[in-house]
Symmetry: C2
Subunit: 241 residues, 2 copies
DNA sequence: CGACTGATTGATACGTCTCAAGGATAGTGG
DNA sequence: CCACTATCCTTGAGACGTATCAATCAGTCG
């Protein structure tokens, strides 16, 4: 009776992408329609929400009666094991939608990585709009489909890639999302521990790999919140091995 | 303009489940509606297909103009890296649907694990049916949502579980899917290499863990195609650590 | 029966984790 | 503005888990 939603980019996706795809299907992901355009009818039923750093937006198992769009900030979507291990399924940021799954309860937890402003849509209203507006239905479907394709790529990363490949893939994907080219500063509001929990690594390993990349001049790290990819070709070479 | 689909069970899901859920959300998965009932209108537009063992049903990147339902046999949905490594996202079997993603090209490869009989639905026709039949739309949405929830659980497995936990989780999930209880024979048409590529392990590690479980009397392996879970409680204990 | 594919077991190497210490950064209160 | 503290990041040494490589065994098909 409710929905959880998951990441899919909808924002100002007309941004230029100077990267060729890291992984095959990324090109398609970037070429995706401007989802936000077709989900504009949702605007009228939205409520603005604000969450502070590390605040929980909803927990796994909570009744899922709202879906969300990120206005500003970054959100992590994750699951916890009984003994506290954490796996971050995805990060969603500016313009991304999440929590659109058609399930009674949320299948994952959503937490604010930074201070965050969201639009919240009552699930019942989305369903209602969907009844009469095929474009809305179509784009929820597209949202979920893109999300599944992205998760499949992440399964490959978690199951079959080395630490170096994981970190390189991650950096390239972040830059691509931001529409940044070689040499530009990439804002990284995401901490090392969060990166590790997304890539199936430990913080220490993430640090070591980043250090190695820095030494080899693949990246520069001007400060903790920013990274510059100085050699995209080499990073892409690392990805496949 | 087409669709890829992914796994979600729709078959004779009224079968009794004697297992309590391995992972939290599995209960919900089992309690899912009888999807096949609501997708019955698809029956009229279906074409019966037959594939032999290891035959490719469609490849990643192929135009996705059909969706499928498994009548008999087992199919693996997987992705390959440039250098040949393979990650199996899921296995689908009797009564399961796959290939319903709303994307132009398939985001993964589908291959027959055993000889397989499928129903094939033209995507254009599914879309047409969806226009007029809300129940069809609703259930495609549910299909994708269940699929995403299942993939999220698998992300945790790949990113945060040990080899023992992975194999134990896999065995419990297989038994649950089949609706089997402790001591009953579980048919496992899936080879060890396929299991390994699903769990992010090597064949050797899968064998070693199975051997260990056999020694500890958690399972019996009467032959290569069958496994008996003799101590479900212990296996479940292994899952969390 | 013989050849092939897949499964198993063993010995060893390697990658990543774990544990521990030190350094940087940001937030807080004087 | 600075000291203080908490948090996060970084680096190192060693342990551990899984991969790798190699050989044997079992089951299947011709």
């Amino acid at each position: 009776m409710s929905i959880v939603l998951n990441a899919a980019r909808g924002g100002t996706s007309a941004a230029p992408f100077r990267f060729s795809p890291v992984i095959a299907a990324n090109a398609a992901e970037n070429a995706r329609l401007s989802l936000s355009e077709n989900l504009r009818p949702l605007q009228r039923i939205s409520v603005r929400m604000r969450y502070g750093r590390n605040e929980t937006i909803f927990g796994e198992g909570d009744a899922a009666d709202h879906s969300y769009k990120v206005i500003s900030g970054t959100v992590r979507l994750c699951k916890y094991t009984g003994d506290g291990r954490r796996q971050i399924a995805d990060f969603v940021g500016d313009g991304d939608f999440f929590g659109f799954l058609d399930l009674a309860d949320h299948s994952f937890t959503a937490e604010a990585v930074t201070d965050v402003i969201l639009l919240s849509y009552p699930r019942s209203q989305i369903d209602r709009l969907g009844e009469t507006m095929p474009a809305v239905r179509k784009h929820v479907l597209r949202l979920l489909s893109e999300n599944i394709a992205a998760m499949q790529r992440h399964l490959v990363l978690l199951g079959r890639q080395t630490a170096r490949e994981k970190v390189a893939s991650f950096l390239l994907r972040m830059a691509e999302r931001a529409g940044l080219g070689e040499g530009e500063r990439l804002d990284m509001p995401i901490g090392r521990q969060d990166v590790a929990d997304h890539l199936g690594l430990t913080v220490e390993t993430v640090c070591r790999v980043l250090g190695e990349f820095r030494q080899k001049r693949l990246v520069m790290v001007p400060n903790l919140q920013q990274i510059v990819l100085s050699n995209v070709a080499a990073l892409r070479a690392v990805c496949e091995g």
